[in-house]
């Protein structure tokens, strides 16, 4: 019995230690190393055969110079700031688009609900890459939007939308919209309708009742949705690379290029460590929000 329990715990535990925690420490270690023309392309490497002396030598060669480099070259600084800006603005737009949809779903007749739910989830099962790619054909110079507007005579010169930050916003809103809708819908669905009804009976206007009752009570869902959009959007690589332009700086893209084009693994690792440090705050806030919600339900 005890043996079985130990086995059951150990297998997934060791797997996650080996494939999640250990790689994470390797990234930390390499972020403290220097780039070198060798295989693997960094120094120092730990040589266990040298025993204690090797260990001492190894640790004495580690340094924070990569992190210093990140602060001196303003490319990285600007990339972090612009990722934060893009993720924040995109999250706000997603909320503005997602809330009315979630509200509409929660107000819909009961027999529609499963179908509406399916319609929200279906894009989630469809390839993210393809859904983002679809916008290239729509937003391009000769894409659907421009040709329709020109045909209608609204514009005479094609608008430049693709390869700008606008296209990145559209991509993030589109790609992550289900993540915003679902938690808000879950919160609105649980909301007791008699509360808003009694507020209206007591003389509140419909809009005032919405602000005073529906919005505060749906807050946990809104918070969860915002984090679920903001956190992945911050490290996004596919959307800025396909829809963004050369001026679109996002840290996921910088990390990728540092690694594959420049082959500077130590700097790429340092970029990853800083990105993680930035993400720790929203991740902890998100988990606290989820925990509070769970406790409230019990």
């Amino acid at each position: 019995m005890q043996l079985r329990r130990t086995f059951l715990i150990l297998v997934p535990y060791l797997w996650m230690l080996l494939f999640f925690l250990v790689p994470f420490f390797i990234v930390m270690k390499i972020s403290l190393s220097q780039v070198a023309l060798a295989i693997p392309p960094y120094t120092p490497t730990l040589d266990i055969t040298q025993g204690w002396d090797g260990l001492v030598k190894f640790f004495s060669q580690l340094s924070f110079s990569n992190f210093q480099f990140l602060t001196t070259d303003d490319l990285y600084w600007r990339a972090y700031v612009s990722s934060l800006e893009i993720a924040t603005v995109a999250t706000a737009i997603t909320l503005l688009v997602g809330y009315p949809i979630a509200y509409g779903m929660a107000s819909a007749p009961d027999e529609w609900r499963p179908t509406l739910m399916m319609l929200v989830i279906l894009p989630f099962w469809t390839s993210f890459l393809i859904r983002i790619y679809a916008w290239m054909g729509i937003l391009g110079r000769e894409g659907f939007v421009n040709s329709t507007l020109e045909w209608l005579g609204i514009i005479h010169e094609p608008l430049t939308i693709l390869n700008t930050n606008w296209a990145v916003f559209i991509g993030i809103v589109y790609g992550y919209l289900p993540f915003m809708i679902l938690p808000i819908y879950a919160a609105l669905d649980k909301l007791d309708v008699s509360l808003t009804e009694s507020a209206q009976d007591l003389g509140c206007t419909q809009i005032k009742a919405f602000w005073l009752i529906t919005v505060p009570l749906s807050r946990p869902g809104v918070v969860a949705g915002c984090f679920l959009v903001f956190i992945p959007a911050l490290g996004e690589y596919v959307i800025p690379s396909l829809l963004g332009g050369s001026g679109t700086l996002m840290i996921g893209k910088v990390l990728w290029e540092e690694f594959s084009s420049n082959r500077d693994w130590p700097v790429a690792s340092a970029v990853a460590v800083v990105l993680l440090l930035i993400l720790v705050v929203p991740i902890i806030l998100f988990q606290r929000n989820q925990q509070r919600q769970q406790e409230a339900e019990q």
């Binding site: 059951l8 890459l129 894409g143």
Partner: protein, 271 residues
């Protein structure tokens, strides 16, 4: 019942138009005879023909399918174990670390997961190829599986399991004949989720794969970076159709099951 107003109807219509319009455009243009994506050159299925004669695409699809099958099956086994540990194993040393490791990959940016796994594979001297992609996909997919399965485990009545044990079942028998059938829907949806995540992944696969094993998303990526490509439109249409048919079928089946269960319960009450 809340009132379903004009405002609700409008926001739902606009919302779903926004969600589905890009996919509809993609499907329409996959039947465009012209290579210029913006000019309609008449109806044609020639891009589908070219797609099926493109050996590189077929190879990539085969690699992706094998990776997804292996990774999702492994992830389902490990993820179900992890869910069981989190919900049922009680306290043990390092439990907080364990649940942290299960939840963290869900919010970890792909670039970091990919980079860190690649550095691990290089550090231990593992040749990059299908195996490394399967290991990487298993790791992040099992976290999703364990979240789905543990949600089901939390909500189920534990006395059923205890009754089986009291009646002389071994723990394994009790798991197989009582617990597993009850959590089976969650295990299956966990498997499907893991399978889709693996099929869909570009970033982690790009980091962890070798030159000989290109997956379909990597192949699509290298094609679309240069611009809109009619063959990719055809491929997208095929993928969208498979997903649509799958999702609609499962939702009809689950609805039918729910109706059947309600009828059975009514019959049982009458009897």
């Amino acid at each position: 019942m809340r009132r379903f107003s004009w405002f609700n109807a409008t926001s739902l219509t606009l919302g779903f138009l926004f969600l589905y319009f890009p996919m509809v455009i993609l499907v329409i243009y996959s039947f465009n005879a012209s290579k210029l994506v913006t000019v309609w050159g008449g109806f044609s299925v020639k891009w589908y023909g070219e797609l099926f004669h493109d050996q590189a695409f077929l190879d990539a699809a085969w690699v992706t399918l094998r990776v997804a099958l292996a990774a999702s099956t492994l992830a389902t086994i490990l993820g179900t174990m992890a869910a069981y540990v989190m919900v049922r194993a009680g306290r043990f040393t390092g439990r907080t670390l364990f649940s942290g490791m299960i939840y963290a990959p869900l919010v970890m940016p792909d670039v970091i997961t990919g980079l860190s796994l690649l550095l691990l594979f290089i550090a231990v001297g593992l040749d990059r190829g299908i195996t490394t992609v399967v290991l990487a996909h298993t790791t992040f997919a099992m976290c999703y599986v364990s979240v789905v399965v543990s949600a089901r485990l939390v909500s189920f009545d534990r006395s059923l399991e205890e009754a089986a044990l009291d009646l002389g079942c071994s723990p394994w028998d009790a798991f197989r004949s009582v617990t597993l059938p009850i959590i089976a829907p969650a295990v299956i949806s966990g498997w499907l989720l893991a399978f889709t995540l693996s099929l869909d992944d570009l970033v982690i696969a790009s980091f962890t794969t070798g030159p000989s094993s290109t997956t379909l998303p990597i192949k699509i990526w290298s094609a679309v970076r240069l611009g809109v490509n009619p063959e990719i439109n055809a491929l997208s249409t095929i993928m969208i159709s498979i997903v649509t048919v799958g999702v609609i079928t499962t939702s009809i089946l689950s609805k039918r099951n729910a109706v059947q269960r309600m009828r059975d319960e009514q019959k049982a009450q009458q009897a």
